[in-house]
């Protein structure tokens, strides 16, 4: 039986340490290269976090590839368990948002395709068709409205604070009324 390479990811990381003198000071520099053995991709790095990011991305691709033929439930369960995948989502997420702002129609269509892959039930819950027709102007209007809303909320907060202050002051300045009851 042949070995199933689909579930294995090997990475070769080369570190090249360089010592040098600069302005009379001894310095050290690390240059590296990380390569994904089974995929053949590689990347240079001078900051190790770039190598980690590269590895995470390759692992995320591996999970996606390995689960593409699974049922919806199985895939969702595996996705949840795949920490590396979600780490990538957290890094890629902001990029998707930026792309959506740049080209909303294209991204909405893309999102719709992705959601439809998970089944019709989910598609019903997400009214993406309503979003599809949103234009850039609409996005601008929404953005402006949110900005206006924020200003109004700010003003409202100031007013509420002022009212609170007044109430507190009036409460504290209220003369103490004492009722003296004569003991009989």
């Amino acid at each position: 039986m042949e070995k199933k390479a689909g579930q294995t990811a090997s990475f070769m990381i080369r570190f090249n340490q360089i010592f040098y003198e600069e302005k009379g000071e001894s310095k050290v520099q690390w240059r590296g290269r990380v390569s994904h053995v089974q995929g053949g991709k590689d990347q240079s790095f001078s900051d190790f976090s770039d190598a980690v990011k590269f590895i995470q991305e390759q692992l995320a691709e591996l999970t996606l590839e390995a689960t593409k033929h699974k049922s919806q439930e199985q895939q969702e369960s595996l996705f949840t368990k795949s920490l590396s995948l979600w780490k990538t989502v957290t890094t890629e997420g902001p990029k998707v948002i930026m792309e959506t702002i740049k080209d909303p129609r294209k991204q909405v269509a893309h999102l719709q395709d992705q959601i439809s892959e998970f089944g019709e039930d989910l598609l019903e819950k997400v009214p993406i068709d309503d979003w599809r027709n949103v234009s850039r102007t609409d996005f601008k209007t929404i953005k402006d409205s949110i900005a206006e809303l924020l200003t109004e909320v700010k003003k409202l907060n100031t007013k509420v604070d002022a009212i609170n202050k007044t109430t507190k002051t009036s409460r504290t300045s209220k003369p103490k009324t004492t009722t003296a009851t004569k003991k009989k």
Partner: protein, 266 residues
């Protein structure tokens, strides 16, 4: 004659006289009594893989059968292993009488290893040449130079190129690549004044393997400087600076910038 020179001669003799010779760099080939073994004689690919696995792990003495199977088969059983091993032995010794021990694959219980005293393998020879080159460096430059040249003559390309996606071959590939990069740069340095054009060529070979290998660019600059080719020397620096910026977002080292200053002051 020094010990190192003797070792060099011995290595060359072995290369010429070994009954089994294996090429792993650039492509995989096996010669038995100077006859190249063709694909028909190999039969299954697993037979080739098993021999390549044994070559990749030749320094890990006595490889356990289970360990070999784990790397080459997902759920292979003893039969798969026996078939592949029989195939390898058949290629190495087609006329071996039955019930006699194989000559080239040493078996001890359930462990296996190649007999490196009988089989000539290019990567093994390359490593040994480089060891001689390193040991002779500084004391016997003639032997050192010859050893590095012999090593680099064996480098016909990447180690087992058809197995680059197999993790069991990666370690050896990386090790050889680093050894070869070092050998190119050292030989280019040795030949810098004697033959600057050859230094430029050798440095270029190193850059072809790893375009970020800064030592190689610096040597090219120095060799062009010796040749009096100022524009090419500056071009080499520029190429180096561009690649380092693109790949790492860094500047060349002060030693490389110093060579540029020397060139600019000419």
């Amino acid at each position: 004659m020094s010990n190192l020179q003797n070792n060099l001669l011995e290595l060359k003799k072995f290369q010429e006289n070994a009954i089994i010779r294996i090429q792993t760099l650039g492509q995989f080939n096996l010669w038995r009594d100077n006859d190249k073994v063709d694909s028909k004689q190999w039969g299954r690919d697993k037979t080739v893989q098993l021999l390549q696995y044994l070559i990749s792990n030749r320094h890990r003495h006595a490889l356990h059968k289970e360990s070999i199977m784990e790397h080459l088969w997902e759920e292979g059983d003893d039969r798969d292993f026996k078939v592949a091993l029989h195939g390898v032995n058949k290629v190495l010794e087609p006329n071996r009488p039955s019930r006699t021990d194989p000559s080239y694959i040493i078996r001890q219980g359930v462990t296996y290893q190649l007999d490196l005293d009988k089989i000539w393998i290019d990567v093994e020879a390359l490593e040994k040449y480089i060891i001689i080159g390193n040991e002779a460096f500084g004391n016997d430059m003639k032997t050192s130079k010859e050893a590095y040249k012999s090593a680099l003559a064996l480098y016909q390309g990447v180690y087992l190129p058809n197995r680059i996606f197999e993790d069991w071959s990666s370690e050896e590939r990386e090790k050889i690549q680093i050894l070869v990069l070092g050998a190119y740069v050292i030989l280019a340095e040795i030949l810098l004044h004697e033959n600057p054009l050859e230094s430029i060529r050798l440095a270029q070979c190193a850059i072809a393997i790893d375009k970020t290998w800064e030592d190689a660019y610096r040597l090219q600059m120095q060799a062009y400087l010796i040749k009096g080719n100022r524009p090419q020397a500056i071009k080499a620096y520029q190429k180096c600076a561009d690649v380092l910026d693109q790949e790492y977002g860094i500047d060349p080292l002060p030693s490389t910038k110093k060579v540029l200053q020397e060139i600019e002051s000419m």
